[in-house]
């Protein structure tokens, strides 16, 4: 008779203990929805910021932009290439 009574007592204590823990945990996390929302908003903000900066970077480094900027700054195309070549190592019959 003694053993079943102990077991029942243990179960009752466990149930009560877990209920208390559940209440405590639920109370702690009940407001985390707002925190989570704020974190997600922040992540989204940085993602958007990152995409906008990439967009700007690509526009500035595009050849279309570089070319038009070069034109504005007065760069001109070099048409006469000057190349140094080695002399031919044999005597040519002229």
């Amino acid at each position: 008779m003694k053993k079943p009574a102990l077991l029942i007592l243990f179960l009752i204590i466990s149930v009560l203990g877990l209920s208390v823990v559940k209440t405590f945990v639920a109370n702690r996390i009940s407001t985390s929805g707002s925190t989570l929302g704020a974190i997600e908003e922040r992540i989204n903000f940085y993602k958007i910021e990152n995409t906008l900066l990439s967009e700007k970077l690509y526009s500035l480094s595009s050849l279309t932009n570089v070319s038009s900027q070069a034109d504005k700054l007065g760069f001109v195309e070099e048409n006469s290439n000057f190349v140094l070549t080695n002399p031919i190592p044999i005597a040519l019959k002229q």
Partner: protein, 560 residues
Amino acid sequence: MTWRYRFTFLILILFYLLVIGRLFYWQVVKAQELSTLGQLQYGRTVTVFPKRGEIRSSDGFPIVTNKISYLVFANPKEVKDKSKTISLLSQTLSLDVASVSASLALDKFWVPLTSGIDTQAKAKLDRLNLPGIGFEQQYSRFYPEASLAAQLIGFVGKDESGEDKGYFGLEGYYNRLLKGKTGSAVQIHDAFGKPILARLNQESGQIDGSSLILSLNRPIQFLVERVLKESVDKFGATSGMVGVMNPKTGEILAMASYPTFDPRSYQDFSENFYKNAFISDTYEPGSTFKPLVMSAALDAKLVTPQTKCTICSGPVSIGGYELHTWDDKYFKDTTMTEVIQHSDNTGMIFVAERLGVARMINYLEKFGIGNTTGVDLQGEVSAALKPENQWYAVDLATMGFGQGVSVTPMELLTAISAIANNGKRMEPHVVSAVENPDGIVVKIPPRVIDTPVSPETAKVMAEIMVNAVNKGEASWTKLDGYRVAGKTGTASIPVNGHYDPTKTIASFVGFAPADDPKFSMIVILNKPTASIYGAETAAPIFFEIAKNILSYYGIPPSGQ
């Protein structure tokens, strides 16, 4: 007792059936509605749109990427001052007052007003703080290089269900790979609507699109487009095309057509500009076809570079037709090298006749003529060669100098590239690798399709083409110090069964440096008015671009 027993039993059965019927009503008839209601209490299902893959040039620069844009929607039931809201929305978003008014008059909870607005426009609307107006973030295509390679890339429009879909070029050909997979996720919230769990992304099934890494060389493409535009205007042509290929791998380094369209505002252009004429239009190649026929005869050992033409002293009569040279000049006993140099039609008739129909068809098919090249772009066409039994004697003769045959510029460039690549014809391709959303890169290896001629024949043909550049009609514009192999072409345009002598397709095809080619190129001008000849229009464009490419690759002149 018996009737009482039966009556009770009947009542129980009826009650039982009533319960079953009611259960059927809730579980089957109203199941979907109840499920939706339950989900609405529990959380909100969110459609997760995938990010479309980027298209990058060979240097890794995204010539097509995504930018953030917004869809503006309204909940008409929450809009307070409708007339003020309509006026502000139509002003800020440049929308028609009537359409905004009609949208806000609808008895719905969600009405889309416009999509694709940028962050600045969104910020403007945000500041107005209009009740009942919301935004949904989405991605739209962004082109940092504007309309660079537009016809090669294609554009993104909408399909029947309103979802993004690629049309034409790479966007069309690789649409399934680029678009990814739309998913859905449940955002669980508490009684106040605050999210209490993160999105179940892993279970959503959403997969971003893969990115394409092209063989397209951005500086070369930029150069080609600039020179082509200037040249079409300069020579008064109706249109023009240039294609540059690495003959050793089949990689397309540049491909341009002019006039073109802007993929950012494709709706403003005629549909005729969408298709890539380089793979979708066939034309008579004229003299640029001669190297293919000549190399076939050389490979079959029917002629040598020194073989003398025995019919070249005047016009040639075949099947009731009298065939002339382009300038009505005739060279008796001219050699095969000189036939290409002078672009001698009678010499090519001599070669074609030696080849015969069967061998001609066999070699041309090996060069890929009459078939699509297999390039990874949407809309490639080809004009099949006639069956052997339908060839007349005059067909064989005209085929020798590139008349009576239709090819796409891509077909001819691929065939000429085989001569540059020791006789091996490569499959042309624009995409050199695919990068999946996890960053794993899968390379697409080069593929040999056929070997139309031997390496020895290819070398000899290259030398004949070098001679044609150095001593032919286009020699005035050649590059000093470089060995360039090439051939001019001036093809008359067939109109109502006759050739119009004033309207031509001027072209030039070749490769450089001839001994170890880094690129092969074709230039085509449609109906140039400044001069009808390829040697005076297409050839200078070829050499202008070739000079810059050789300089870009750091290849010095040989000094000879």
